[in-house]
Amino acid sequence: MSDKSGRFEKVIDRAVAADYQREENEAIKIHDARILTAYEESAGSQEKALAKAIGAEPARAIAAELKSASEKLAQQSAAAKMGIRSTRPTTRSPSSAPRSGARRWRSRCASSSRGSRASRSSIPKTKKKALAEIDKWAKPAFVEGGKKAGPYVPPRRRSKHVTGAPQGFRSGHALDLPPLSERREEDRGRRQSPPSSSPHRDPGGGRGLERGTRLAGIDYWCTNLTDNGLKDMVEESITNDIKQAAYEKRSVSKADLDLIQKTEVALKGKDPKKAEGEEEVKREDTMRQWAPVAAVYLLWVAIFTVAQMLLNNTTEEKTNRVIEVLLSSVTPTELMFGKLVGIAGVGLTMVGAWIGSFLLLLNLCERPRGTSRPRAGWRRWRPPAAGRLRRLFHPRLFVVCGVFLAIREHGELRSRRRRT
């Protein structure tokens, strides 16, 4: 990060710190979830083994006890997480950046002594304790690095914040850029950007800036072009700062503004057709709403697949001369009808298998973790009313089919008459 204006030093620092904090929180969350899952899995198998050894009843009691204890631990760790969030993150100054460079995160987990001290100290003691407790419960195989594994500490972002005139990078820096002065010359030649001789003290002039405005003198240099997290954070931070300046100029206090910005209206969908007390639109209703769409899509896929199958089948037998053998014992009409019915059966089997597997999958996915009984899913979802199914076999359909059959029979009769 290079900021020639020197105005946004604190703002950028805050953004970098916040981005780092966000990453750390994410990592800790994932770590916790993994350990809890591992614990649950191991608890299930342990309960079975216990039941075998001492009978089902005491084993269940022990399992329940263990479960309540683990829930308590989860609450503790959640509380600890809140504690982390509220602590002010410490940013690393460039001079204390480690020389060793990138290490794989796994080794970082395993090595407790080489982990970064600053971030370790930002984890409160309760959190450490909770994690240690969970570590004891989980199988060692699931915890990275075995018993010695401390809480997962992600690699830090290296950032260098240059204020004022460029002083040049220390060689061997993590970003490994050429000295800033050289880059600056290069850049100026490339883009013909105006020299930022007059640093912007108040870029918006307290009026705010237009969307997408570039500030002269502030650049974001990075080697990883795909990772926009930090850049977005810095952008947001600077934007907020400029906004705040504009608000202050209009003598709107930040507290008032925050209060106003918090306004959010939420509407709950309700169905007037439903009975009183349960008008709220639930998940099943949404599913019922979307079921026809899925059915249409399924029909489309099925028609294309089955038609293709029928065509392939017919042409294959024609080229094989199998059809001639068959035609010696059945009439063409019978053969074609038989083919239609057979392939229709195949298609129906396929679609039936798809629907069945979909329902099964839905049932499996809906099952909440740690319980054996499905709480929600297709069992609670009732199919649409029978009336809608009856509409599928509407009399009109039979009339149309009859007309087609009549036309066909008529043609057949005529051709037979011609033959005789």
């Binding site: 990453e23 990592a27 994932i30 979830a33 993994r34 460079g101 990138a102 995160w105 992600p154 690699p155 972002r157 290296r158 993590a174 970003l175 490994d176 080697t223 990883n224 990772d227 697949t305 199958m309 089948n313 068959l326 014992s329 059945v330 009439t331 009409t333 019978e334 053969l335 009808f337 038989g338 083919k339 019915v341 057979g342 392939i343 059966g345 195949v346 089997t349 396929m350 298998a353 798809w354 597997s357 979909f358 999958l361 996915c365």
Partner: protein, 54 residues
Amino acid sequence: MLRYVWLVATREYAENAKTKGFWIGILIFPLLLMVSMKLPKFLEEKALPPATTQ
């Protein structure tokens, strides 16, 4: 006539059910569905933090 139709139909069904394509067709749809449902979640859990470049 119906008897022959039925015979041809059962033969067709059996012939089709024997083919590889039929079973692949049956299996691939739920597999795709499951992968599309589970993969994002799985990747999210497996995600490594961005490696720092030296």
